[in-house]
Each structure stands twice: as C-alpha cells, then as structure tokens.
C-alpha cells in the first residue's frame, strides 16, 4: 500500500527519541542534582 509508513524509520524514531530523552534526563540530573 502506498500510504503504509516506513516502519524501519518509525521504529528508529521511537528508539532515537528514547536515547535523546535519556541523555536529556541525565543532563537535567547533572545540572540540578
């Protein structure tokens, strides 16, 4: 189907978001703890 999303990209986007959030949380902890 033409409107089928590119799943690999979507899965990668979810995992990259996770990695970015972990980095941000860590930076937040380091900055304020």
């Amino acid at each position: 189907m033409s409107d089928e999303p590119n799943w690999r990209r979507l899965y990668a986007a979810v995992l990259i978001t996770l990695a970015v959030l972990i980095a941000l949380f860590y930076a937040f902890t380091k900055a304020f703890a």
Partner: protein, 562 residues
C-alpha cells in the same frame, strides 16, 4: 469543597458517563461489544492505551513519590519504548492475522487449551486485584476530602464505571478514555502552574528546580547497578522492558485496546505513539510532585499528610512534635532564602523527615494497623489546601476521570477473558452472539462488584502505585515467558510451556519471600526461569522419546529368540 467545585466534579463525571452510554449504544454482536468492531483509528488506540495505564494512582501516588523519593521513578518506564517497537513487529501482526478477541485465545493455537486456560486464570487474578486497586485510589481522595465512608465512595465510583462499561463495552471505554486523559493531564498542568506561581516572588522557575535538585528530588537518572534498589537505569531498562512487554503484549486490558485498531498499521501507530510520549508524560507528572515539594519548602507542610493519622494520636504528643517540626521548617526556609550550602539544607531536610517518621511511628504505636506511609496523601493535601475555588473541583474530576478510565479498561478486559476464554471455550461452546453479549454485560457487572469488594480491604497494602506494580510483578514474568515461547519457538510443546510457567511462578514466589531482590527484577526471574524450564522440559521429553524410538528400533533389529 465549595459549591462550584462540586458542580465541576459532578458535571464532569456525569458527562463522561452519559457520553460513554451514548457512544456505546446499540451493541449487538460480540465483536462490536468487545472490540468496537475493529474500527478505531490510531489516535483512539493511542489515547486508549495511555489512559488505561494512567490510572488515578498515577496522578495521585506519582507526585507523592517525587515528593518523598525524587523523580527516579521515571526510570521504571525506560524499557517501554523498546517494548512498543518489539510488540509492533511481533505481537500486533499475529493478533490481527488470527483475528483473536483475547491474547490468550492465540495461545491455544500454539500450545492447546490447558496453557490458554492457565494464562487466562493468572490474568483474571492479577488484573482483578489490580483493577480493585485502581478503584480504591479515588475512594481514598473523597474519604479524605469529605470524611465520607471509604467503602461508600468505592461503591459510587465503581457503579458509575459499571454503568457505561457494561452498557457500551469497548467502544464506550475507548471513546471516554480520550476525553478522560485530556481532563486528567489538564488538571495536573493547572496544579503545576499554581504550585510554581505560589512560590515567593524571589524564587523563579529555575530557582525552584535548583531547590528540588539540592534537596535530592532531581535524581532522574541513576546508572548505579544495584539489584536491591527498585529504580535505577538498569532495573528500568531491563526489568521495565519485561514489565512493558508483558503488560502491553499479554495483558488483555492493553491487548484489547490495540485489537480495536482498524488495521495492523493503525494498531502499530497507536503503540508507537505511546512509546514516544509515555516517558515525557511520566516525567511531567513526577515534575509536578517535585514542584509540590518545593512549594512545601516555603509553605509550612502538615506533619502528617494523612488526616486520619491525626485522630489516632493524642493532641499533646502531636503538639510537641508539630512545634519541633515547625521550628525545623522555619530554619530550613531561612537557610534556603539566605543561600545556605547544600549539605546544611540536606541536614535540615533529614531532620524534618525524621520528625515525620517519628510522628508516623507514634500513629503506628497507637494503631498497629495504620498505614506506615502517607505518600499518597501529599498531592491531595496540596490540592485541597492551596488551589483556588473551581480548580479543586477540576483536579478532583481529573483524578476521578483517570480512575474511571483505567477501571473501565480493566473491567472490559476481565469480562472479555471470562467470556471468550472461559465461558465460550469451556462452558457454553455453542453460545450465540446475542447471548454472549448479554453474558459479557453480566460478567462486567460481576467483576465490577468483585473489584468494589476487594478495594475495601486494600488500604493496608502500602503506597498505591507500588502496590499495583507489585501485584503485576508476581505474574507478568511467567505470562511473558509463555508468550515468548509461543512467539519465538516452534518445537516447544504445550506441556513444556505449562510446566515451565509453573516453575517460573514458583521461582518468583521464592524470590519475593526469601530474598531482598527488588520487585522489578521478579519479572526478569519469572520470565527467564519460565523460558529456560520450558526449554529444558521440552529437551528432556524429546530426548526421552528419541531414546524410546531407538529402543524400539533396536528391538526390531534384534534376531528373534529361538
């Protein structure tokens, strides 16, 4: 509570119930009643999945967690996005292809009816208890706010949920959940804004975060590997992944949400959206708790947050402690405004915490059955004592909405499993669609009443958010083991999976009883022991049958005795 708060609360709840009943009218077929005819778009699936997990406990207990323990609880959700990806690749297409009503129905196609029934029963026990706890949380609020009888409150909330869940089924549940989630998050956002706005003029937003950090509340990520602490990066990533895989992949209350997706694509998109926004959402709720903590650095907090605790101790005993507590608070507030060192502040904080513990010990001495923790009351106390008229009603409505949405999903899933995996499979195999819809409604009412009954004895389990997850962690690992064997092995038999699961469950119970292992790791133990035991049993059985075949072959080749 003022009349306007009452109006906001009652109007919101009645509107939700009426909307649910209206949306779910005319449900004739089982697929309509249990799966909304598999017609929902990804955003409905996503919000339904999120609202199912975000119960009132999330909105009540989580800010309290941040208040007492900091924001490290967010790490519990680190494995969730990975689980969403894994499930989108594996479970979603399988469930859709087989057009199952429940996750356990799939197990029969792989392992036979025994394993299906065992897993369904484990689910019914665990989800039945979990749903009861999600009902108990808002009952706690109203009993605190109005001095109502907690059992009566449980009955009122439970009845409201039963009305629209039993009448409208999954469609009513999914549509109401979207609105409920927005109301709940809106209520939290207003509470956060007011907490920050109520700080002294000299304390800005960044200063407030800095205060939370200096007092140890901004401990979001901790890379220390320690099996005995429940929330660190590793337990969150590994244990949290197991919990999320089991919860979203095998727990019918969640599986049912994405089985309503119109196509595999819609269901997958719903799960992936959840994977992207869940962590920020939990961070936000914990941040509200951290800001409530900062608020109480400048406004005198009560010594005991649970108002029922006060009645258990003599006023003279309490007055002495309250005076000491107030003196420590004043000293801490002065130190904060004067820019004292972190070690000085933490020492004062430790003294304040010690006073609170002393007061709770007094309460427990007077009444040994009293709850040793008042974490769950922190956010409520803040709402009731400090939010303006109208907003109190809104925040209470938010908490009730969250409770109702999670309870509705639970009842809906309990009814589905009871009908599809027990009633229709084992008792009345030839039951028609109309009959099954009628019995599903009765099952919803039955489970609603069960949850109400259990909720009345839940008050001594401990902090609620932890209690729900602890109940789940007794079973999740084992159930996940069964599903992993089903998804990823081809040769393992139903008997091996069944006994593997039993072995995994025994291992979890032994860990819980005889070790200091934190509960998140029980999921890993149940899963790993379950899988390994099943593989070994399967290997043993196949080796045994291989030996039997060789013996038969040897006998066949032996020369006949003369």
């Amino acid at each position: 509570m003022r009349p306007i708060d009452w109006f906001v609360l009652i109007a919101t709840l009645l509107a939700i119930v009426a909307y649910g009943v209206w949306k779910g009218r005319r449900q004739k077929r089982l697929a309509q009643y249990l799966l909304a005819d598999r017609q929902l778009r990804w955003y409905s699936v996503a919000f339904s999945v999120m609202a199912t997990q975000a119960s009132a406990i999330t909105f009540l207990s989580t800010p309290g967690q941040a208040f007492t323990d900091g924001m490290r609880f967010v790490q519990f959700y680190l494995g969730l996005p990975i689980a969403m990806v894994i499930l989108s690749i594996t479970a979603v297409p399988i469930y859709h292809r087989l057009k199952v009503f429940t996750a356990y129905e799939y197990l029969e196609t792989r392992f036979g009816v025994g394993t299906r029934t065992l897993t369904a029963i484990l689910f019914l026990i665990q989800r039945g208890l979990g749903t009861a706890l999600t009902l108990y949380a808002p009952a706690l609020i109203v009993s605190l706010v109005l001095g109502w009888n907690i059992n009566l409150t449980t009955i009122v909330i439970g009845t409201l949920v039963i009305i629209y869940t039993a009448s409208g089924g999954t469609k009513a549940v999914s549509w109401t959940q979207m609105h409920q989630l927005f109301i709940a998050l809106g209520g939290m956002a207003v509470a956060l804004a007011i907490a920050i706005h109520s700080l002294p003029k000299s304390v800005g937003f960044v200063d407030a975060v800095r205060v939370a950090g200096r007092m140890g509340r901004i401990n979001v990520i901790d890379f220390t590997f320690d099996l005995s602490t429940p929330y660190n990066f590793w337990s969150g990533l590994i244990g949290g992944l197991m919990v999320a895989l089991a919860y979203f992949g095998t727990d019918q209350s969640q599986v049912q949400r994405y089985l309503t997706g119109e196509t595999v694509t819609q269901s997958r998109l719903g799960l992936l959206f959840n994977g992207m926004v869940k962590l920020p959402m939990q961070f936000f709720i914990l941040f509200v708790g951290a800001m409530v903590f900062v608020f109480y650095q400048f406004v005198q907090p009560p010594l005991l947050f649970n108002p029922t605790h006060r009645a258990k101790v003599s006023t003279t005993q309490l007055a002495t402690l309250e005076n000491e507590h107030r003196a420590i608070f004043e000293a801490k507030k002065r130190a904060l405004l004067d820019g004292a060192s972190t070690s000085e502040l933490r020492a004062l904080q430790d003294r304040e915490t010690a006073k609170r513990k002393e007061a709770i010990a007094l309460v427990q001495k007077a009444d040994p059955r009293a709850d040793g923790s008042d974490t769950d009351y922190v956010f409520l106390t803040f709402v009731m004592n400090n939010l303006p008229v109208g907003v109190v009603g809104l925040v209470l409505a938010a908490v009730f909405c969250a409770a109702m949405s999670a309870t509705a999903s639970g009842l809906n899933a309990l009814a589905s499993t009871t009908i599809v995996d027990v009633y229709k499979r084992l008792i009345h195999k030839d039951a028609g669609d109309h009959h099954c819809v009628r019995v599903s409604k009765l099952a919803t009412v039955f489970w609603g009443l069960f949850c109400i009954a259990f909720a009345t004895v839940a008050s001594r389990i401990g902090p609620l958010i932890v209690a729900v997850n602890i109940v789940g962690s007794y079973f999740y690992g084992t159930i996940l083991a069964i599903f992993l064997l089903a998804f990823y092995t081809k040769h393992v038999t139903g008997t091996a999976a069944f006994w593997g699961a039993i072995t995994g469950e025994i291992a979890v119970i032994l860990c819980a009883k005889y070790t200091t292992m934190a509960w998140l790791w029980w999921n890993v133990v149940g899963c790993v022991v379950g899988v390994v035991a099943a593989l070994l049993i399967d290997l043993g059985v196949r080796w045994q049958s291989h030996r039997s075949l060789i013996r038969i072959e040897e006998r066949r080749l032996e020369p006949p005795h003369s």
